[in-house]
Amino acid sequence: MTRAERRWDGLLFVAPFLLLYLLILIYPLLRGVWLSLHSVDLFGDGRFVGLANYARLAADPVFGQSLVNTFLITLMIVPVLTVIALALALALNRATRSAAILRGVFFSSAVLSVTIVTLIWRFVLAPDAGLLGELWTAFGWEPLPFLSAPNLVLPALAITTIWWSLGFPMLLFLAGLQQIPQDMYEAAALDRASKWTTFRRVTLPSLRRTTILVIMLQTAAQLQIFGQSQLLTAGGPSGASRTAVLFLFETAFGRWELGYASAAAEILFLIILAVTLTQYWLTGRAREGEDGR
């Protein structure tokens, strides 16, 4: 074997992945940008319309509302989820058997698919056939129409999502807690620091990177929330729970306006990209901070 061959044969190892990657990820990405500048329906490749799709999006109240709904539900989910996951990790970071069982209980829902989660929660939330309805009636109250009242539907979807998504953030916090050196706690104990001071001065600062990771991963995930609203409410009542990705789905596969849907996809892409880049930037800063300590 000559040297030149040796240099190129490394490419053979990465080629199978790279070819699929270029065909199924990069090509659709570029085609999406191109299509977003065209007016396209089911038939043919359409005509060039410049930024008209984007201008139409900016003026479309349905898209606007779907973006607002997406931001609102993300705001309802991420802070609550982060705080509960951290609290659970703090409480269950113990070597006892009961702590291990409870960790399993709080993680169990995370392995379910979105269709099973919505199936379960449909019959928890439904006022006539649901668990909460039965509970409310047992107390003599009127069951709340969680999925059909415009002001209750987003919180109901948020609760469903928090129940579903708790497991992984809790595990991340548990892993973060276990990496805090024990001698930092011993030093705090020697200084007779109270539990609260120890938590604020030792635990929280050591968890900074984990916390950034959890918040950013969850934000990026919830901005793409789709199955819950598609399956539980179909975006209703009258659009009160339509999310940005559901808008995308309806525009592309309900009305087959591919150019318009592509433009919406690019907007969503930019928003999520901004979140991802913020995460890299914050993590980088947190790391510099730790190295400098």
Binding site: R7, L11, L25, G104, S113, Y185
Partner: protein, 278 residues
């Protein structure tokens, strides 16, 4: 470094809060299980009947009698196992190439792969759908599996892992006259089993639970995966089989994934530790 585990006792109030939380986590699951054990007629207009006997396994028997649910289970198994095998093969090969070989454009190609980590699936899924329509791959196993193979995370993960293996191993094998592929297959790959199992568990979970892609790609009900089949069942719920049967389907569909979770708990926890350390 000793792992930090709290040794003090939990205050009773905190204990109570944790137990209430656990009850909230479990209650919907138990409710589902109870509903699945009731006959459909008893539940009509009265889901509260689920709290009292008699219970029956009739709905589960009906699942095995209906060809569609078992067909969806088979589809899910084929797609998830196919995706997992494909990801392991592609990511290991590419990881070996990027981590241990030198070839032209290696750095820029690796950066190109890393950029993919920032591309959300929503940005490409419409055009993947068009591409697969052009290729005539919808409603087929390759159509359901291929988009699962291009996630850059696996390549990134295997590259990191293989970089940490000492270079001397390759050099010694090279002196013995082994080819690149023999070194990869006989020397390096056996050392990556822990990483392979972690990647396998996460790929399998992700693929088994995937909803968006099979929803738009598998439009014929005999090609549905379990997630899409259950979505269709709950959309048609009013007309069809009844609440007990629907919930039995949900329980039936979650059994395989719970088994995977229980068997591979260690890999999941270890992967989280890795992510928190990153």
């Amino acid at each position: 470094m000793a792992a930090s585990v709290a040794r003090d006792r939990l205050p009773p109030l905190v204990w109570a809060a944790v137990l209430i939380g656990a009850a909230i986590m479990v209650a919907p699951l138990i409710w589902t299980l109870l509903l699945s054990l009731k006959s459909n007629t008893e539940l009509v207009g009265n889901s509260g009947a689920a709290l009292q006997p008699p219970y029956t396994l009739g709905n589960y028997v009906a699942i095995f009698g209906s060809s569609s649910t078992t067909r969806w289970l088979l589809n899910s198994a084929v797609v998830s196992l196919g995706t997992t095998a494909g990801v392991l093969i592609l990511a290991s090969l590419a990881g070996y190439g990027f981590a241990r070989l030198d070839f032209p454009f290696r750095r820029s190609l690796f950066v190109l792969v890393l950029l993919g980590l920032a591309i959300p699936s929503q940005a490409v899924i419409l055009h993947q759908h068009q591409l697969f329509a052009d290729l005539g791959l919808h409603n087929s196993y390759p159509g359901l599996i291929l988009p699962g193979l291009i996630g850059p995370f696996g390549v990134f993960f295997m590259t990191q892992y293989m970089r940490a293996i000492p270079k001397e191993l390759d050099e010694a094998a090279m002196l013995d006259g082994a080819s690149r592929f023999t070194i990869f297959w006989r020397v390096i790959l056996p050392l990556t089993v822990p990483a392979q199992s972690t990647l396998a568990v996460f790929t399998f979970l992700g693929s088994w639970n995937d909803y968006w892609w099979p929803l738009i790609s598998a439009t014929r009900s005999d090609m549905y995966t379990l997630t899409v089949g259950l979505a269709a069942s709950q959309m048609n719920y009013a007309q069809t089989s009844g609440l007990g049967f629907l919930m039995a389907q949900a329980v039936f569909a979650s059994i395989p994934i719970f088994m995977v979770y229980i068997i591979f708990q260690k890999q999941i926890v270890r992967a989280m530790a890795g992510a928190a350390l990153k």
